[in-house]
């Protein structure tokens, strides 16, 4: 064997190993998503068959129709949009300047508050707030849910923004300051426009986390104020054996989030990995 063929064989082996490891890593992820889709497009007779049916002979969209017919999905969708939208918006309004301030002043102790808020179990906010909202009479609207979502979305936005503003060169703002801009103007007209990509990442991550959140909604939501995850969970308890509609509902809930992830996947990876160590 000449050294050259040996090298070639070695490279081929390396490549095969890499390909195999990618396949092994992705298999569980792909399988669960595949199975979800599969359950959602099969008739119940196929879903409860043994051995399980992987490729149905007959596909159906009945399950999706059922989800929308048997529960006010559009109402729940609107609830989720209101909660997630307002929580994200407020988080941006408060969190972007805070991230800027912390990054510029290097006030890392303040950022410790963020870690503390992550450590606090979600339920510990719920008992007192639940009692408080009952006294004020806010139970039965979506606003308590939106307010509690701030607890998770605000730290995310601040966290991402600190990471972003720390890497931003500060020469431009200094130039603006020398030209007589106030601190606020330097932020508003110089730093903020430059930070747009970071704001997008923060907004989307905050949106996703809030959309996916279950526990706050589970405690605060009444019949008409359920968010999507809560609505789907309730379907589970009432129709545990209708697998088709359940899987269809699962898809409906996560579809917006999956789409968002695809749109900004690159930025998410960057935002999370740089924010991660900050």
């Amino acid at each position: 064997m000449t050294p050259r063929t040996r090298r070639r064989i070695r490279r081929l082996a390396d490549r095969t190993a890499l390909g195999l490891s990618v396949a092994v890593l992705l298999a569980p992820c792909l399988f669960v998503f595949f199975w979800m889709v599969s359950l959602s497009v099969k008739y119940d007779i196929d879903n409860t068959a043994w051995p399980p049916v992987f490729w149905p002979e007959q596909m159906t969209f009945e399950n999706f129709k059922k989800v929308f017919e048997e529960s006010p999905m559009f109402l729940y969708f609107w609830n989720s949009v209101q909660v997630t939208g307002s929580a994200t918006l407020v988080s941006l309004l408060l969190g972007v300047p805070a991230g800027y301030g912390i990054a510029k002043a290097k006030a890392n102790r303040m950022a410790g508050v963020l870690l503390l808020s992550r450590m606090t179990p979600g339920l510990s906010y719920l008992i007192p707030l639940f009692t408080l909202f009952q006294i004020i009479g806010l139970i039965g609207t979506v606003w308590p849910i939106a307010l509690t979502h701030l607890v998770i979305t605000l730290p995310i936005v601040v966290w991402i923004m600190i990471g972003f503003f720390e890497t931003q060169p500060h020469e431009l703002e200094e130039a603006a300051r020398i030209d007589g801009a106030t601190l606020w103007q330097a932020f508003r007209y110089v730093a903020l426009p430059l930070a747009r990509p970071g704001i997008v990442v923060g907004a989307i991550l905050s949106f996703i986390t809030s959309w996916n959140n279950f526990i706050f909604g589970a405690v605060f939501a009444g019949r008409t104020t359920r968010t999507m995850p809560v609505a789907v969970y309730n379907m589970l308890t009432f129709e545990s054996f209708a697998w088709g509609p359940l899987a269809a509902a699962a898809i409906v809930v996560m579809l917006p989030v999956i789409l968002l992830t695809i749109v900004i996947q690159k930025e998410i990876v960057q935002g999370l990995s740089t924010g991660g160590v900050k």
Binding site: L18, V22, L26, C29, V32, W35, W50, P52, L94, P97, A98, G101, I102, K104, A105, K106, A107, N108, A111, V113, L115, S117, T120, P121, G122, L123, Y125, I127, P128, T131, L150, V151, V158, W159, I162, L183, F187, W211, N212, F214, V219, M228, P229, V230, V232, A247, A249, A250, I251, V253, I258, T261, K266, I268, V269, L272, S273, G276, V277, K278
Partner: protein
């Protein structure tokens, strides 16, 4: 998290208390105040209220009486609560260790350049973005002992069927499986960020000196990526301790109380039995456990950095 990184990054002066630090901070306080006020309103008020309630015998709908530390004393002898601590640790150790190991391996793979890397990486991070409740629902159906697809997959490779979440002995490992599926991508992303920040010089030098791949990994990659691993470790530990959705949706803490973690016990006390006083005491103990564990990890990290 900032605290975690600044010391080791060595970038920029670590802020000192005193005149210098304060002068730099003051003009920026206006930017930070609004968020800080909201944060403390939403965090500190519940905290004070929780501690106060934990000192009372309080059920929703009946008058509250001050009982001092009795709630805590009851917890110390409450078998169900003590068992839930055991479940929590069992669950946490597994669902921290496995995603960390798998996530690191995945990061090493995705750090290599190959065709379609971006696409495959997107696929790989999908689980952590997917709605946990919906994911748990799918897994519940997959775990079904008679009709579930997982037992069918086991039979394909010649393994006997498992009871999965329907037997006390297998419920926690089965739940960990879901947790691993959901959060391995998170560990991968953090470690990947670490790998991306590695300088190339040490590797070039090592290559010239004839180091093996294995040596390069342990002597260069591992020490440089270690701070990132610790960040992932701390966040993952906190999140695993607090895990709720998967356990609650898939098996409700059952069968019996076999998978009742502290968080699930807490939920039951507060919202199923309306025992707000007891639940508040559980919150205080639970938070103490989380903070203690995080501090141990942070401390271990600093110790490791100095040796």
């Amino acid at each position: 998290m900032v605290d975690v990184s600044m010391a080791e990054a060595g970038a920029g002066p670590v802020p000192q208390k005193g005149v210098e630090g304060e002068r730099r901070l003051r003009p920026y306080l206006l930017f930070i105040w609004p968020a800080l006020i909201v944060c403390s309103a939403v965090i500190i008020f519940p905290w004070l209220f929780t501690v106060w309630m934990s000192l009372h015998d309080f059920r929703i709908g009946s008058p509250m009486t001050f009982i001092g530390l009795d709630n805590y004393k009851d917890l110390a002898t409450n078998r169900r609560f003590l068992e839930s601590i055991g479940h929590t640790f069992y669950f946490t150790v597994l669902s921290v260790a496995l995603p960390m190991v798998l996530g690191t391996l995945a990061a090493l793979v995705f750090h290599k350049k190959f065709w379609g890397r971006g696409f495959f990486r997107t696929l790989f991070i999908m689980p952590m973005m997917a709605t946990p409740v919906a994911v748990s629902l799918i897994w519940t159906m997959m775990f079904h002992p008679q009709l579930g697809v997982l037992n069918y997959l086991l039979s394909l490779v010649g393994l006997p069927p498992s009871q999965w979440v329907y037997a006390p002995g297998t419920v926690i490992p089965s739940l960990v499986l879901v947790e691993v599926w959901l959060w391995t991508p998170f560990c991968m992303i953090i470690v990947l960020g670490g790998l991306a920040s590695l300088p190339s010089e040490p590797y070039e030098a090592a290559l010239i000196d004839g180091a093996s791949q294995w040596q390069m990994f342990w002597k260069i990659t591992y020490p440089l990526v270690a701070p990132f691993l610790v960040v992932a470790l701390i966040i993952r530990t906190i999140d695993a301790l607090k895990a709720f959705e998967t356990i609650w949706v898939i098996c409700n803490g059952g069968p019996g109380t076999a998978s009742e973690t502290i968080n699930v016990y807490l939920y039951n006390q507060a919202f199923a039995y309306n025992q707000v006083g007891t639940a508040s005491a559980v919150v205080v103990v639970f938070f103490a456990i989380i903070v203690a564990l995080s501090l141990i990890l942070l401390w271990a990290r600093q110790k490791a950095a100095w040796t």
